[in-house]
Amino acid sequence: MNKIISKEHFSANVVKLEVEAPMIAKSRRAGHFVLVKVGEKGERIPLTITSSDLEKGTITLVIQKMGVSSTKICNLNEGDYITDLVGPLGKATHIEKFGTVVCAGGGVGLAPLLPIVEALKKAGNRVITVLAARTKDLIILEDQLRKHSDEIVIMTDDGSYGNKGLVTNGVENIINREKVDLCVTIGPAVMMKFVSLLTKKYEVPTLCSLNTIMVDGTGMCGACRVTVGGKTKFVCVDGPEFDAHQVDFDEMLMRLNAYKDEETESMTNLKK
């Protein structure tokens, strides 16, 4: 049982929770995730750790209402308890001084991007962060990302904030403007697919962080498997970060829909 210390709404569907987890706060690194389960009959779902506070012994999670389980987590309030929380899981991000790094995040993907931006900056990289969302209200963590970046580029689909256009437009402008040594992209699978196609064209090495369906999160079940470089990999223990140019995004997109019918049905039940 882990207590929720504070809750903040980023937007109607995106919530930030600060959760008591002293051991995880101490051991986690950028790129790590946790598995969270709400209620005795709850589902185990993976969530990337956004930040931690060693003094308070807390970790921060940013969650978007997508299905039943994420909605249940978002509906918890300050003082409530998360039934089960385990981690940190996955491999931590490999951090070194690469040179100039473009970090491209979309929507709720900006949350897991934050600790990586922070760590890359600390390692002496020049970090240019591209924040993308459909519209102004969905841009999250702008101040924190700005704090750790050398430059911020904001892209909105509708032009309500920053530049009008997709994340790929933002990334392409930078690549055309200066030499980029590495690109890190986190966001919806479709977004990562197109960022990856773009950077492949320009031969910019690219890392992506995948968020697939998981059950145990410790390598036991294989629900999270993806094809990387023609080989089957488990996101939970081999990832969650991979060379984006090697990832079979189309297969991943297909597998993300594995339980779509079941999910739709249980969402309808939840709303009742």
Partner: protein
């Protein structure tokens, strides 16, 4: 020890009460089972256990041999004649106590141990050409009787030495280790990665073979012995081995199990509806996904193929049948004779209408436009010469293939050791296959304070062998810690 017990007056009296000839003439008891048509549609336990009358009669079959060879066949050295004779004289609670002297999980072992390969294979009756005493059924009877009586005995702990030791993983190896160390007076904490205690007993073995509530009672007994449990904690991730040492833990037993499921790397294996047996069983058993109240989804396939012929494959196929499969198939590349599953499991599966496609091997899966599996292409096989494992190796019959409609495929072709724990302990010696290397007699690793056992050492074995490792490690660690204290 066994011999001392044997000379007790009541034992001598019992032996004298009936001639050996009369004992051997009693027919071996048959396990009462739930009707196959009823059980193949629910999750009730298949084996119903013995009645008091059946147990009393079966216990009479045991000759209380001077040299009880059955005990050599038991990885946890249960005092078999003592518990069986206690059943014969009607002291069922005493029988249960005897079991608990050396086994932390008697009700579990009475259900899932392959007794036919262990204690029962060494029974004197076998040497006389008769079926062995049903030791496993009697073990279950005594453990169940105690539980149902409500008078559950907790093994006495002579004195607490206050020395902290850790078990990593709460499966059969870790629980057996914890029980033995607690009995020796140690302050034991069991660390579990999942949200429930029990490891494979919870996520793997289905309700119809081992109800969770039975596992929970045995865990409760360990708790009463002073064993502490910490769920949602991964040693090596949440807390490191060094941090445990700093917190005063003097020894650690790694029983983290066989984690990674193997796949065959054939075309279409990542289609939706193709999954590992671990995933399928974890969804149904640990997450209770078949229950409408559970948030975890699971497919309820109508035409389901399970690839493999082990006990896990049998568990998966029988689960699929219970969740509504009209056609539930075992696809196995050798013949039934080579199947590693227990004979009882194969028998039960057949009674429940499971189809056996032996000498068939999948070579690819086909899917629809949504990426869901629709067909499997099977290669027909024949048996050739015996391979390294001694089993006759299967050879493809050229050109002989068959396409079968399926909406779900469960791959159950073995597991590899979970690298999570071994990788996180610096300097721990592991084999090329990823198993932890130990001294076979002591289960000690190259790091003296760390011991290991169960599937993380064996790569994939049984509950009882894992328990045997846990006990062996406990004895050796006790000795090691006493020595290092001096």
């Amino acid at each position: 020890m066994a011999l001392v017990d044997r000379s007790e007056a009541w034992r001598e009296e019992l032996r004298a009460s009936m001639k050996n000839k009369e004992r051997t003439n009693i027919e071996r008891v048959h396990m009462n089972e739930l009707d196959a048509t009823i059980r193949s549609r629910n999750s009730e336990e298949v084996n119903l256990g013995l009645t008091v009358e059946q147990a009393l009669l079966e216990a009479k079959r045991c000759l209380d041999c001077a040299n009880p060879t059955c005990m050599n066949g038991c990885p946890v050295s249960i005092n078999i004649p003592k518990f069986v004779k206690n059943i014969e004289r009607g002291e069922f609670l005493e029988a249960a106590k005897t079991l608990k002297e050396t086994s932390a999980l008697p009700a579990v072992c009475g259900r899932v141990c392959p007794q036919e390969l262990q204690c029962e294979s060494q029974c004197i009756h076998i040497k006389m050409g008769k079926p062995a005493v049903a030791i496993g059924y009697l073990e279950r009877f005594a453990a169940d009787f105690e539980r149902e009586s409500g008078q559950i005995s907790v093994p006495e702990i002579p004195h607490k030495n206050g020395i902290k030791v850790a078990a990593v993983g709460s499966g059969p190896a870790g629980l057996a280790f914890a029980g033995d160390m607690a009995q020796r007076g140690y302050d034991v904490t069991v660390f579990e990665a999942l949200h429930q205690i029990g490891g494979v007993l919870k996520y793997g073995i289905p309700e119809f073979r081992l109800p969770n509530k039975i596992v929970d009672v045995e865990i409760e007994c360990l708790r009463q012995m002073g064993v502490k449990f910490l769920t949602n904690c991964i040693v090596g991730k949440t807390i490191t081995f060094d941090e445990l040492s700093e917190e005063g833990f003097k020894g650690m037993f790694v029983g983290s199990g066989a984690g990674l499921p193997n796949f065959m790397n054939i075309k279409g294996e990542n289609l939706i509806g193709v999954m590992s047996a671990n995933e399928y069983l974890t969804r149904v058993n640990l997450m209770d996904a078949a229950n409408p109240e559970s948030d975890t989804p699971v497919y309820k396939g109508k035409s389901v193929a399970i690839i493999g012929g082990g006990n896990t494959a049998m568990d998966a196929v029988r689960t699929a049948r219970r969740l509504g499969a009209d056609r539930a198939m075992i696809v196995y590349r050798r013949s039934e004779e080579e199947m590693p599953a227990r004979i009882e499991e194969i028998k039960h599966a057949k009674e429940e209408g499971i189809e056996f496609l032996t000498l068939h091997n999948p070579i690819e899966y086909h899917g629809n436009e949504r990426g869901r599996v629709t067909h499997m292409l099977l290669q027909k096989m024949q048996l050739g010469e015996p391979d390294a494992s001694g089993r006759r190796s299967p050879i493809a019959i050229e050109g002989a293939t068959e396409l079968i409609e399926v909406d779900m495929v469960i791959v159950s072709v073995g597991v590899s050791p979970n690298p999570l724990v071994p990788q996180s302990i610096q300097g721990l010696e592991v084999s090329r296959k990823g198993t932890v290397i130990v001294n076979e007699n002591s289960m000690q690793t190259n790091i003296p304070a760390i011991f290991a056992g169960g599937d993380i050492v064996r790569g994939g074995a049984t509950v009882i062998l894992a328990m045997g490792d846990g006990r062996k490690a406990a004895a050796a660690m006790d000795e090691y810690l006493k020595e290092s204290e001096n």
